[in-house]
């Protein structure tokens, strides 16, 4: 009986978000306030809508990445994926004028790469960090090879292609942000309320125990790899739309931004811990920092430094937490 009373005392926000995310939300509010004060252009409709549009790319990829990370594996080739997947998109769009065909081809390529990563890790038992590191370079090199380091411009004249990355609903809500929210909410639901989602947590939490309980660990991890690459491909399509081309330099550093954001958001490198909502907040925070710093005319180079430092800090704190449990 005592415990029931305690539950009611805990605030609703805490119940929904969990304690660690509560802290994150507070940080979010603080940072938001800081930038609003520092620059009068920050807290404007135009800027907020820009931020939403900007974070839609890393967030969609972050959803897939988080799911994979929660299952206990990583994929750091998602940056190179951004460039590689744009190739079939643009090539087929230019050849056939059909956005739909291009998108299908792009997603297919993305899923295939996910399948390859998944097989390498689950069947050949190669460490996922190194495997996807190798993939990171292989894919990037392939892009250089095929494009000969020249961007493939969009000749298709497809309006949807332009709109999806750049258009806004009622001049406020970017279509990409709508897509982002749909994907986010969909997967939050899946991770929280389906057997599949809970199994991902189980596998990441303790794969051996999960196995003994009859969960097919390999199948779950394999599916997570495919999800990660496919969602990263969606980001790639949005990026290509923004750039209006398939660029060989696209996505450089992307994987590290996503990693930093997601770890910041509480998804643990060791697996089994973290939520998509947390990942969202993490991406949002980094998005705001980048946007805000841009408003303050801070060089982009600093973003690299800050992101790197955040990674180190976040992992160090993660380690400290682990040692205390």
């Amino acid at each position: 009986m005592e415990q029931k009373i305690e539950n009611n005392r805990i605030s609703i926000i805490r119940r929904i978000f969990g304690v660690s995310e509560f802290g994150l939300l507070v940080s979010l509010v603080i940072i938001f306030t800081f930038f609003s004060i520092s620059s009068k252009y920050f807290f404007t409709v135009k800027n907020i809508s820009n931020i939403l549009g900007q974070i839609s790319l890393p967030l969609i990829a972050a959803v897939g990445f988080s799911i994979l990370l929660i299952s206990g594996e990583v994929d750091i080739s998602i940056g190179s994926l951004q460039a590689v997947v744009a190739l079939p998109l643009l090539i087929i769009m230019n050849a056939t004028g059909s956005f739909l065909l291009g998108v299908l081809a792009a997603l297919l390529l993305g899923a295939t790469i996910g399948i390859i990563n998944g097989l390498l890790v689950t069947k050949l038992k190669i460490n996922s960090l190194i495997t996807t590191l190798g993939m990171y370079y292989t894919l990037r090199g392939t892009v250089y090879l095929i494009t000969k380091k020249v961007a493939i411009a969009d000749d298709s004249g497809s309006e949807i292609f332009f709109l999806i990355g750049n258009g806004k609903l009622y001049h406020f809500l970017p279509y990409s942000a709508i897509l982002m929210f749909v994907i986010l909410l969909f997967f939050i639901y899946i991770m929280k309320n389906t057997t599949y989602g809970r199994r991902i947590y189980a596998v990441g939490g303790n794969a051996e125990v999960a196995r003994v309980m009859g969960i097919n660990v390999e199948k779950i991890k394999f599916s997570a790899f495919i999800l990660c690459s496919t969602l990263a491909s969606m980001s790639a399509i949005l990026l290509a739309s923004r750039l209006g081309s398939a660029n060989h330099l696209a996505g450089q550093g992307f994987e590290f931004q996503v990693v930093a954001a997601v770890i910041l958001g509480g998804v643990s490198l060791s697996g089994g811990i973290g939520t998509l909502l947390g990942a969202f907040v993490g991406v949002f925070i980094i998005g705001i920092i980048q946007n805000g710093l841009g408003m303050m005319n801070v060089y982009t180079m600093w973003q690299l430094i800050i992101t790197g430092s955040i990674i180190i800090m976040a992992v160090a704190i993660d380690e400290l937490k682990k040692r205390h449990e």
Binding site: I126, N127, G134, Y137, L139, L269, T307, G308, S309, A316
Partner: protein
């Protein structure tokens, strides 16, 4: 499990290790022959010296990376470090008109970065893979902040030019530097107490600790040596390019690691030889050289490096599985 079983297993496994190095040399020879069939240009003295000179930077960095991997750690920031060192060295020489000072500044920078990497690992307990990836980003950002544009050679000092482009007799200086460093460290790793400690620390951290080895200090020192050696590579590079380029070294860490792993150094720690690294790096360089003189698309280099890393890691994990089977019987 009598003596006979033991001896048989030692032969097989012992052979596998020696096997590894012999196989590598064989692969090296086969590839070389294949390329020279494709074009006779391959076998010229100039080309071979070119290969060796180009390999020198990766080999020097590979020395440090090998030692670091033996202790069970890794450093992915050396690419960004190379760029940073190049920029800083050139800038300092420009300002002070003193090559020695510039070189010292570059190496000092390497030492500091190595120290930080080491502390992040030993004190903050951050996994070295993630930690040095983060450092890679931080350093790259810092290079661009130091200078967005390439730093040109305003000093035109001869000594500087000589580092990367000069000769001692018929030997290019980079090769000389590489050979000196290589043999010094070869001796350290194979014959010295510190070398033994490196293998013990990577092979079994706790056992090394129990044996009285100061394991964390050793790792710290190894991180520093890796970065200092990488900074030497950076100095050679900036001399050869004749300008400090902020975008230099991208992908450098990959080619070094690929060569080191190909050469038989295990990602798990406790194993690896400098000889293997030498051959591994050479194989990759020869492949790259072949791609160039056979007029293939240069971007294949990076693709091949990526594939090589995957294959090398696969073989590495196979070895680990085989070993685990032996231990548990």
């Amino acid at each position: 499990m009598g003596i006979l079983g033991q001896i048989k297993r030692e032969r097989i496994f012992g052979k596998l290790v020696l096997f590894n190095e012999i196989i590598l040399v064989v692969v090296l020879i086969i590839i070389s022959i294949a390329i020279s069939i494709g074009t006779p240009k391959f076998y010229s003295t100039t080309n071979i010296l070119n290969i060796l000179r180009d390999s020198s930077m990766a080999i020097i960095a590979g020395i440090g990376m090998t030692m670091l991997l033996i202790t069970g750690e890794v450093d992915l920031s050396i690419g960004s470090l190379v760029a940073f060192v190049g920029v800083v060295t050139m800038d300092i020489i420009n300002r002070t008109m003193n090559v020695g000072l510039g070189v010292l500044a570059g190496m000092g920078l390497g030492a500091v970065v190595g120290l930080v990497n080491g502390l992040v690992r030993t004190k903050l307990k951050v996994n070295s893979l993630i930690g040095t990836i983060a450092m890679m980003m931080i350093l790259r950002g810092m290079v661009y902040i130091y200078s967005i544009a390439a730093i040109q050679n305003y000093h035109q000092l001869g000594a500087f030019y000589e580092i990367g482009n000069g000769y001692v007799g018929f030997m290019p200086i980079p090769i000389v530097i590489m050979l000196v460093l290589y043999f010094v460290f070869l001796f350290i790793v194979t014959r010295s107490v510190m070398g033994r400690h490196l293998y013990a620390t990577g092979g079994n951290y706790t056992a090394a600790k129990i044996s009285g080895i100061k394991v964390d200090n050793l790792k710290l020192l190894t991180f520093m040596m890796t970065s200092i050696l990488a900074s030497i590579s950076g100095i050679i590079l900036v001399s050869r390019m004749n300008s400090g380029q902020p975008n230099a070294g991208v992908g450098f860490e990959l080619s070094v690691i690929a060569g080191v792993i190909l050469g038989g150094t295990s990602l798990g720690g406790g194993e690896g030889t400098l000889i293997g690294t030498l051959i591994g790096v050479l194989i990759l360089r020869i492949i790259n050289n072949g791609i160039i003189i056979l007029r293939w698309n240069q971007d294949l280099q990076i693709v091949i490096s990526g594939i090589v890393i995957i294959i090398a890691v696969y073989i590495d994990s196979m070895r680990k599985v085989a070993r685990a089977k032996i231990i548990t019987t």
